[in-house]
Amino acid sequence: MEGLGFYGFGALTLLGALLMVTSRNPLHGVLWLVVSFLGLSGLFGGLGAHFLAAIQILVYAGAILVLFLFVIMLLNLRPDDVERMPTFSLRGGVGGFLVGVVGFCAVVGSVVMGTGAFAKPVAGLPPLEAGAADVAIPLFSTALLPFEVVSLLLLAAIVGSVALTKRRLP
């Protein structure tokens, strides 16, 4: 069952991500990203992070991506507005792809595959179920400082967004 969850949700996540990257219409991109995040949420659930699975859907899919949709519609973007063609100059494109993406995959892959500690089947690990209450305890004790800082961060983001976008220039 573990296997089914991983392969199913993993495929969903990856597929959504790939389709998002390749979609010409940003509106479609957002929707594909929602799909990908749903898959991710499933993966979180499979790993026992139930609270995060819920947050992933509520905050990411429910709030952040809606904000994206809102901006796309606000600016009234159509597919041909922007993407005449992707920037794929031969040198920069192939070089960037090979060194950047392939190199990244190779390095990370070799490290992950070369570390024996990560070769354990997940099913054999001691169970870890983390609901809202379980996460809340460290959140309000050991991680209190970052929690407070995040509140300031969000305030700064709100103030900043308002300052950058409000219409009236006196």
């Binding site: 920037t87 920069g92 070089g95 960037g96 060194v99 950047g100 190199g103 990244f104 190779a106 390095v107």
Partner: protein
């Protein structure tokens, strides 16, 4: 003589600084007052120097002839930097040069700068320069020396930038600053290398690796051997020898030695004798002074001394040949300065600090005199070309006679200042501990060349007919008085080193300051045969110069009037002329042009310009990368990061498995 006299030494250092502050900040707009403040700052320094020098010379047997006074400047953990003053015969002599030459220059500037807009600022800058120079002189440790070293460069840059206001001169100032920085970084690296290697020795514990006195005591106790053994050889040299040579790099830059000499002639370009004087009498001597101060670093390593001597000899010879063909009066003096600086450095390498310091002292006085004279001449003729001068001896008698005194001292006419110091150097090359025949020949030939170009310059400037425009007239008293003031030491200061006269007061021998400079063991001798040979070379050069440029002009005039009657004489003259032309065109011109070509094309164009072109080109190439496109940036950042990660992880894996 002990630390109870420290207030006097501090006064030498801080009187010019106080004067700079007052003149620059408080009374800048009140012209007369600013000048008076600056001059009195220097005068206070001069008086304190004289007093301390008298006390040092008057010190009885067994009494210390100098003292060191330090305060802690920066203390951080194991690292302590001090700030202090050292007053021993070496530093006081140098301080005497700075203040003794500086005071008349300040007075002279009152006249020369008359009517300039930035009068007060100029005197503030001049005082600041004097302060930085005295900071080097009185410094007790390497770090302090380095700080003031840079400050001297900076204040001279400010003065050049202040004074010229024209592009080429500021380019020259910038070049001076840049070339000096190359040397300075050798210097800094040397200091750090020395500190690092010395501080790593357990036997060094309790001493400060920056402090001259501590280092000298350590070296004298044989510490350099330990140092050479304890650390690995770098570039085939033991670390202390390498450190000595790196420290010497600093002197090569500041004292304009080959191959970093290219900045000095350029720094003379401007019309002011005052600014040029800094580059003739005091500032450029700082390098020589510094290697004298740290002579103990070189003493145990003959190979280091040889390198020093050869660089000096090469500079002396090369610059003298170039001076032969210059037509700008200040360029002649500039190359002459280069040549004499080379002489000093050669002296340090051959004979030790005392001979170098002796020549430095005498040279400072007569070269300052010559520069002030040239300033007076330029002031009168409104030109720097000696081809546009001539016959000035009648119009400017004071300038002429003082010039003659300066020339005599530079040419080393027996009895004048230059004679004694040059003799000492030649004696060291002939009989000294590190005697070297090739360098003796270089020294003698250079002496001859010196006489030749100085006589040429004198003849073209002061004799014959005036070839310029307008009517030259003598400069005001405020300018001629400093000339006479300097003429006296230019004539007499050499006698201080004459062993037969001051037998009881050995000025330039024996223990020469707290760092224990000591080369001449036993009584100093006066080498009569060598003195004769040296004088003969100088006389030969001088006579040749006079025949060609002085005498020829007189006869050339006669030749035009009486074409046929003195045919044989004329043909002889013609022969001489041809010989001279041949000599100049093929031999001297050839050497000079080779040197000039080497300097212009290899050094400046090849090394200096080539490097800067390469640097600029790579700057532009990097600029291409900065396309402005976010995609390029992301690709660069990502590719770079992946390469860094891959490199480290792969090398760690290899290290881990192997």
């Amino acid at each position: 003589m002990g630390p109870e006299l420290a207030p006097f030494a501090w006064a030498i250092l801080f009187a010019p600084l106080a004067a700079a502050g007052v003149a620059g900040l408080l009374v800048r707009r009140r012209r007369g007052l600013a000048a008076a403040v600056a001059v009195s700052g220097m005068a206070v320094g001069l008086l304190c120097t004289l007093y301390l020098l008298a006390r040092s010379l008057g010190a009885g047997e067994g009494e210390p002839t100098g003292f060191v006074h330090n305060v802690d400047w920066i203390r951080a953990g194991a690292f302590t930097a001090r700030f202090g003053v050292v007053a021993d015969r070496l530093s006081l002599l140098m301080a005497l040069v700075v203040t003794g030459v500086g005071t008349p220059i300040f007075v002279y500037s009152i006249g020369y700068m008359h009517g300039d807009e930035g009068y007060g600022r100029f005197f503030a800058c001049l005082s600041l320069f004097a302060f930085s120079m005295l900071g080097i002189v009185l410094s007790t440790n390497l770090l302090q020396t380095f700080v003031f070293w840079e400050l001297v460069g900076l204040s001279s840059y400010l003065l050049i930038g202040f004074w010229f206001g024209k592009d080429s001169a500021v380019e020259a100032g910038k070049k001076a600053f840049m070339v000096n920085r190359v040397g300075d970084f050798g210097f800094l690296t040397g200091i750090i290398l020395l500190c690092w290697s010395a501080a790593s020795l357990p036997s060094f514990a309790g001493r400060n690796p920056l402090d001259f006195a501590d280092l000298a005591a350590f070296y004298r106790a044989g510490g350099y051997e330990e140092l050479a053994k304890a650390s690995p050889h770098l570039l085939g040299l033991p670390v202390p020898a390498l450190a000595a040579l790196l420290v010497f790099c600093g002197a090569v830059g500041k004292s304009a030695q080959f191959p970093l000499h290219v900045w000095l002639p350029d720094a003379m370009e401007g019309p002011t004798p005052v600014s040029a004087l800094m580059h003739a009498a005091t500032m450029v001597a700082a390098g020589v002074y510094m290697i004298c101060r740290v002579f103990f670093l070189f003493e145990p390593f003959p190979e280091a001394l040889h390198a020093v001597a050869w660089i000096g000899g090469l500079t002396a010879f090369m610059a003298a040949t170039i001076a032969l063909v210059q037509t700008d009066i200040k360029k002649v003096l500039a190359y002459s300065t280069l040549s004499q600086l080379g002489y000093m450095v050669m002296a340090v390498g051959l004979a030790g600090a005392t001979a170098g310091m002796f020549h430095l002292t005498t040279h400072a006085f007569f070269k300052a005199l010559l520069f002030l004279c040239s300033g007076s001449v330029i002031h009168a003729c409104h030109s720097q070309e000696i081809t546009e001068m001539g016959g000035l001896r009648k119009a400017m008698p004071s300038t002429f006679w003082t010039w003659i005194i300066g020339t005599a001292a530079l040419v080393a006419v027996p009895g004048t200042a230059g004679f004694f110091s040059k003799d000492e150097i030649l004696a060291a090359a002939a009989h000294g501990e590190h005697a070297s025949l090739p360098l003796l020949v270089v020294g003698l030939v250079t002496a001859g060349l010196t006489a030749f170009y100085m006589l040429r310059c004198t003849a073209l400037t002061f004799f014959g007919e005036y070839r310029g425009h307008g009517h030259p007239h003598e400069s005001p008293a405020v300018m001629t008085l400093p000339l006479w003031f300097l003429a006296v030491p230019a004539l007499l200061v050499g006698w201080l080193g004459f062993p037969l006269l001051f037998h009881g007061h050995p000025w330039f021998q024996g223990e020469f300051g707290i760092t224990g400079v000591k080369v001449h063991e036993g009584p100093h001798e006066f080498h009569l045969p060598l003195a004769l040979v040296g004088t003969a070379f100088a006389a030969a050069g001088g006579i040749l110069g006079w025949m060609v440029f002085g005498a020829r002009r007189i006869d050339a005039a006669a030749w035009k009037e009486r074409l046929l009657p003195l045919h044989t004489l004329l043909s002889r003259k013609y022969f001489l002329d041809e010989f001279y032309l041949w000599l100049v065109r093929t031999v001297q011109q050839g050497i000079a042009e080779c040197s000039d070509f080497f300097e212009q094309n290899v050094l400046i164009r090849g090394v200096v310009d080539g490097l800067s072109a390469a640097v600029k080109a790579s700057g532009r190439a990097l600029r291409e990368l900065q396309t402005g496109s976010i995609h390029t940036y992301v690709r660069f950042a990502l590719a770079g990061s992946v390469l860094v990660v891959a490199w480290v992880i792969l090398s760690a894996a290899r290290g881990g498995n192997g």
